[in-house]
Amino acid sequence: MSSNPYILVYGYGNPGRQDDAIGLILTEKIDKWSRDNNLPIYCEYNYQLNIEDSYKLKNFEIVIFIDSTISNKIPIYNFIKVKSSSEYDFSSHIIKPQYLLYLSENIFNHKIEAYIMEVRGYKWEFMQSPTKKAIKNIKLAESFLKKFLKEKIN
């Protein structure tokens, strides 16, 4: 990893629930690629997003959140630019990327360019390995992300 990373790639999910691990697996691949090529990218992993992650954002200019999705409207992956939003759930167990951006802007006065990469998953049983279809989707998403990140860095 370069000494001054300004891009944060943040994958999250449960590695023990099959395709819920997609975010972590894809982030691992980007992490390895970034280290091998000494790119200004820092990779973070977690079960889910947390409110203190808003503090982490202030050290970066660009963030890409990577997650799995169950939505059948997304056949392989979906990559979108996102803005902040104050909408939140009634439980402490769900924090959306848009909400983190809002916390970052309003509490830490830091605005960041943000994207979400959602990769389609299929099964969520208590098992370690993702499905074969999910692995194919991860490969395609990886290819896209690497191209996107190269353009951002250059």
Binding site: G13, R17, D19, E52, I70, Y88, S91, H93, W124, F126
Partner: protein, 482 residues
């Protein structure tokens, strides 16, 4: 014209909370039910796995409270490896686990209070949802919002330093712990310019001052919004002190009379049973000797304040004395006092963390204890949300044959239903439509218990709260979803 009720498949998605309110012909609430879809696969998931994997595997149940499961499973497997029944670890082993546990409770309670509860308290139940969140808090009281986030961060860093890593933390193992506290981490927690333990104690005291001030001005919300008699259950230390990591099982009734007088939790099944009801995916535990109708109980911060005799850290003890005095020495039967109790525990945990950081046993000493193997182990711990039970049986090949788990939110199933029922009767009697304000009121009542809605996977969608209003002909007459 009303609609027939259908059970939508979405109600089978875990992490879903739904409230059903039944009204009679006069529009009076006759019954209400809070349905939580709890993931039930855990016990089968661990079957056939070696017992030593349990403390790591169980963390996959939950992304918010993995540490509680990690430690409860470790305590159960301590028994299996012959490391005693909760007090047989080395000093380093126990103290490292305690540090991990206090970090966990500190961050979990901080998240709940600053992120979820303070908006309700600052802005009131009927405030615009756009304002009633931590951003609204930040605009009114930026320092409070900032502190909430940094307290969370501090607790998470304590967990990282003790469990080894954020995901698949492996700190607690059967018979002890697998690492000491690094000196660099100790130094950081004691002396970091921005977030150090003294700052955490100061902020915890500040949060209590905020609450006391709010309480004086809004007794109608804190004391009168919801109130009902309940039994209370928690672990207490043998001398009656608050002990979030280990102790004996105590239960008291709403007047403070003992129902379970400091019994050995390893035999919890002699005292606690779980009832299944047809309309819920979650079980209803109850104290056997009182029966199903009267034996339900509350767990969590309020239960702990109601069962203990004292707190062994001085600042939290002073706050506990205020709490007890306010309630005339009896248990508080006001669910909104959960917020007060939670803040006392935040302060207690910060004091305990400071004690442990200054203890030389954390940076040196033996890590593991072993003894004669047993084939069954029970581990109980006071998780942020309440008493958590893990119970495993193994076979001759060291594989888990059977597992039983009672999580805190399951213990609070009936109390949450009582709270929702009371709110429903108060606010919805005579109504034919569910308003945003009613939804908010139900949310506030549920949120006081900080339920863990089985977040083992979040990719199934966000966690909606739904309220449905059903008339005497079993027809759905209104529905709202958030």
């Amino acid at each position: 014209m009303g609609q027939k009720i259908t059970i939508d498949p979405v109600t089978r998605i875990e992490g879903h909370g739904k409230v059903t309110i039944y009204i009679d012909n006069e529009g009076n609430v006759t019954e209400s039910r809070f349905h939580i879809v709890e993931f039930r696969g855990f016990e089968r998931f661990v079957q056939g796995r070696p017992y030593w994997e349990a403390p790591v595997l169980v963390q996959r149940l939950c992304g918010i409270c993995p540490v509680s499961h990690h430690l409860a499973a470790a305590k159960a497997t301590d028994v299996i490896v012959g490391a005693g029944y909760g007090d047989g670890l080395t000093p380093t082993g126990e103290k490292m686990r305690r540090l991990m546990h206090y970090g966990q409770i500190f961050q979990s309670h901080s998240l709940h209070f600053f992120h979820l509860a303070s908006p309700d308290l600052l802005f009131g139940i009927n405030a615009d949802p756009i304002k009633r969140n931590i951003i609204g808090v930040a605009l009114e009281n930026k320092e409070l919002a900032y502190q909430g986030i940094m307290m969370r961060k501090f607790g998470q860093e304590i967990i990282r330093a003790t469990a080894g890593k954020k995901i698949h933390g492996t700190g607690a193992i059967p018979g002890g712990i697998n690492k000491h506290l690094e000196k660099e981490d100790k130094e950081m927690f004691l002396n970091h310019p921005e977030i150090n333990v003294n700052k955490m104690i100061e902020w915890a005291q500040g949060a209590l001052e905020f609450f006391h001030d709010y309480h004086k001005k809004h007794k109608e919300i804190i004391d009168e919004f919801v109130s009902f008699p309940s039994n209370y259950l928690s672990l207490v230390r043998k001398d009656g002190a608050l002990d979030l990591y280990h102790g004996v099982l105590r239960a008291v009734d709403h007047e403070g009379n003992k129902i379970l007088a400091d019994v050995d939790y390893h035999e919890y099944y002699k005292y606690i049973e779980e009832e299944v009801r047809s309309w819920s995916y979650m079980k209803f535990p109850f104290i056997k000797k009182l029966g199903k109708e009267k034996g339900w109980y509350t767990v969590g911060p309020l239960a702990r304040m109601n069962t203990i005799d004292f707190i062994d850290t001085p600042l939290a003890q002073k706050e506990f004395e205020k709490f007890k005095s306010y309630n005339n020495g009896k248990p508080s039967n006001k669910p909104m006092h959960q917020h007060w109790a939670r803040l006392i525990e935040i302060l207690h945990c910060a004091e305990k963390i400071k004690e442990l950081l200054n203890d030389p046993d954390l940076t040196k000493g033996e890590l593991i204890t072993r003894g004669n193997k047993e084939y069954e182990g029970v581990g109980l711990i006071e998780a942020p949300r309440g008493t958590l039970f893990h119970h495993y049986k193994i076979n001759e090949d060291d594989l888990i044959e059977k597992a039983n788990l009672i999580v805190s939110t399951t213990n609070n199933n009936q109390p949450m239903n009582e709270a929702v029922a009371q709110v429903a009767k108060k606010i919805m009697n005579g109504q034919q439509k569910i308003t945003e304000g009613m939804m908010n009121a139900v949310e506030v009542a549920i949120r006081a218990y900080d339920p863990c809605l089985s977040c083992a996977t979040h990719a199934l969608g966000h966690m909606p709260l739904e309220i449905e209003l059903i008339n005497s002909e079993n027809i759905l007459i209104d529905y709202i979803k958030k």
